[in-house]
């Protein structure tokens, strides 16, 4: 059923349709509307047989999820940014224990400086945590990925993070197609745990493992993610059969057939990029887009297959590995390194801390890339004046003061007018 609603609410609806049994969350922008939504549905009896727990921290949220999942309950939580970092220890624990928890991450930057706006630093910081990470391009996809995530998680006994851009998606009202309960039930069977705390068949879960077996345990986690590379497209196929639309999968190519330049990105920015690409295509530029949906496991084969005929890739990512550069870009390069494929690759850091990524900037960027006139590492719309001013200040003064506050002062003349 088509509805015009907020992304957060759409996700809440999707979670509700998945018949969750335990939901726990601690509020953090921009995740709040999701948990407010599911919380209200539980309280109102719209979601039955479900316990909604207001916990005292994200660390507790993930911990409660660990407990309930290990006891065989379908478990959901959501977080963002600092919240994700606050629960990190438990995040690793959940995946290490193989507990099929589904968690929405309403992607937001990580401080300091504190910043509530969107980028992907939070999820990406957990790329090695052993969680599956799926990135939604639209609210429709966010909704659909949650349904797929429960099935994926439970089949593999691995937790899944559904990543959606904070504010840009979570707070955007747009058209979504809400599936029926019958459709979801047909797709998602009840949770059959692989391991469970059961008084009639007691087991010890979470024992200490020493050097004699730890590598094997870690390898098996990797092996499961490799299985996910097969399972994710399979589930997307099943999903299409029941729901009638393409959603999920590993990667999503757009106009890449004969593209000389392929832009690779994740999340909602793909829409702006596609609009830009369409305009450039209209102008005769051979450019395409590859959206990465599954960041973990990273679909090396699928990415390579999609880009192998291109001359160059421009990896545009909303995250930044300080001291080296791109993260998604590094993974993309791994996909073709050693395969005898000659592709130029450019890393573009964009949209950090909610900086708008505009078509105008993208046009300029892609045109430069098309001329191979782009530095290997580019910061989109970086205000060099501000940066240089601060660097100058630091060169001159020992006590140059806090950088972020200086920069804010420097840019304050332009800070007020737009969001």
């Amino acid at each position: 059923m088509l509805k015009q609603m907020e992304g957060s609410h759409a996700v809440a609806e999707a979670v509700a349709l998945c018949r969750p049994e335990v939901i726990c969350a601690y509020p953090i922008s921009p995740q709040t509307h999701i948990v407010e939504g599911v919380g209200e549905m539980v309280k109102a009896g719209k979601i039955t047989n479900c316990e909604f727990i207001n916990v005292e921290s994200e660390f507790a949220a993930m911990s409660v999820a660990i407990g309930s999942s290990a006891t065989g309950a379908r478990t959901y939580t959501a977080t963002a940014s600092q919240g994700l970092l606050f629960m990190v220890e438990a995040v690793y624990n959940a995946s290490g224990l193989g507990l099929p928890i589904v968690m929405t991450v309403a992607n937001r930057a990580i401080g300091a400086p504190i910043n509530i706006w969107n980028d992907h630093s939070d999820s990406i910081s957990q790329r090695d945590s052993g969680w599956i990470q799926l990135f939604a391009e639209t609210n429709q996809e966010a909704l659909d990925l949650h349904i797929q995530a429960f099935k994926l998680a439970e089949e593999l006994s691995l937790p899944v993070m559904v990543c959606m851009d904070g504010f840009i998606l979570t707070h955007a009202y747009e058209r979504v197609d809400i599936p029926t309960q019958e459709q979801v039930d047909a797709f998602l069977p009840p949770y059959e745990p692989r391991q469970v705390l059961d008084t009639h068949a007691p087991v010890s879960i979470g024992a200490m493992v020493g050097p004699e077996a730890f590598t094997e345990v870690r390898y098996l986690a990797h092996e499961k993610q490799m299985q996910a590379l097969d399972l994710i497209p399979k589930l997307a196929g099943e999903f299409k059969t029941i729901f009638g639309r393409d959603s999920g999968g590993l990667v999503r190519p757009y106009r890449t057939e004969d593209a000389e330049t392929i832009v690779i990105a994740m999340g909602s920015v793909l829409g702006t990029i596609k609009d830009t690409v369409d305009e450039m295509r209209d102008a005769g530029v051979k450019i395409g887009v590859l959206g990465v949906i599954s960041f973990r496991p990273f679909p090396l084969d699928a990415v390579r297959e999609a880009i192998k005929h291109a001359k160059r890739v421009v990896v545009l990512e909303k995250t930044f590995a300080v001291g080296i550069g791109g993260i998604l870009a590094t993974d993309v390069r791994t996909s073709f390194f050693g395969f005898g494929i000659q592709i130029e690759s450019y890393t573009v850091i964009a949209g950090l801390g909610g900086r708008p990524i505009t078509k105008a900037s993208l046009h300029e960027l892609f045109e430069k890339a098309g001329r191979d006139d782009l530095p290997r590492l580019t910061f989109l719309d970086l205000d060099w004046k501000v940066v240089n001013k601060q660097l100058e200040r630091e060169r001159k003064m020992r006590r140059s003061g806090p950088a972020a506050e200086n920069i804010l002062r420097d840019v304050s003349s332009t800070a007020a007018h737009l969001g």
Partner: protein
């Protein structure tokens, strides 16, 4: 694609207005995308919300920098915020005020504007009158429907019903209807004046 930017202050229902606008457009089978300025603005702080309306899927995620229309929920913002930034030439401007454009000191800015694209509306009073609260957003939305013709009053009413229920919905519908009629009357008289001119 038709792009609307709504300016106001925290607590004035700016974001709700954008959302309702998107719902109204959706009810008319358009694609619509509403989103706030993604801030953690508190009551009283300047707030911006956006709404795009189109006939196909809206993929664009950048803020609206060159709006087709502006709704200004609080005229005091005119002093502090560059609300007109990027406004397309001859774009729609609806301002919540008892004053005129001239009284607001905007005579120069709108000198070349078509008169039927400009309107002021004492929306706060309408909110007080019909809902009992100084909420200008719904009357402005209805006024915007009348001003721009992008959506119908019926769609605004549907959006009201999607967001509110009971007495509040009824009050809002009454306020919306009155606002719609007020603005339509003004636009029509403006057009007549323009035709006479």
């Amino acid at each position: 694609m038709f792009e609307v930017r709504i300016h106001g202050r925290g607590g004035q229902g700016v974001v709700t207005a954008a959302e309702m606008l998107s719902i109204a457009a959706f009810e008319e089978a358009h694609h619509a995308q509403a989103f706030p300025s993604f801030g953690s603005e508190r009551t009283g702080a300047p707030v911006v919300a956006f709404c795009r309306i189109a006939e196909k899927e809206i993929r664009l995620r950048e803020p609206i920098m060159e709006p087709d229309a502006l709704i200004i929920q609080d005229p005091t913002l005119l002093q502090s915020v560059d609300v007109f930034s990027g406004l397309k030439k001859d774009g729609f401007i609806l301002i919540n005020t008892k004053s005129t454009f001239e009284e607001l000191g905007l005579a120069d800015y709108v000198r070349d504007w078509p008169a039927d694209r400009l309107c002021t509306l004492a929306a706060t009073d309408l909110g007080l009158k019909h809902v009992g609260r100084p909420m200008p957003n719904v009357p402005l939305l209805a006024g915007f429907a009348a001003l721009s013709g992008v959506i119908k009053l019926e769609s605004v009413i549907m959006a009201i019903n999607a967001k509110f229920s009971g007495k509040v919905a009824a009050g809002n519908i009454a306020g919306a209807t009155e606002a719609f009629e007020l603005v339509r009357a003004r636009i029509e008289s403006a057009r007549k004046e323009a035709a006479h001119a």
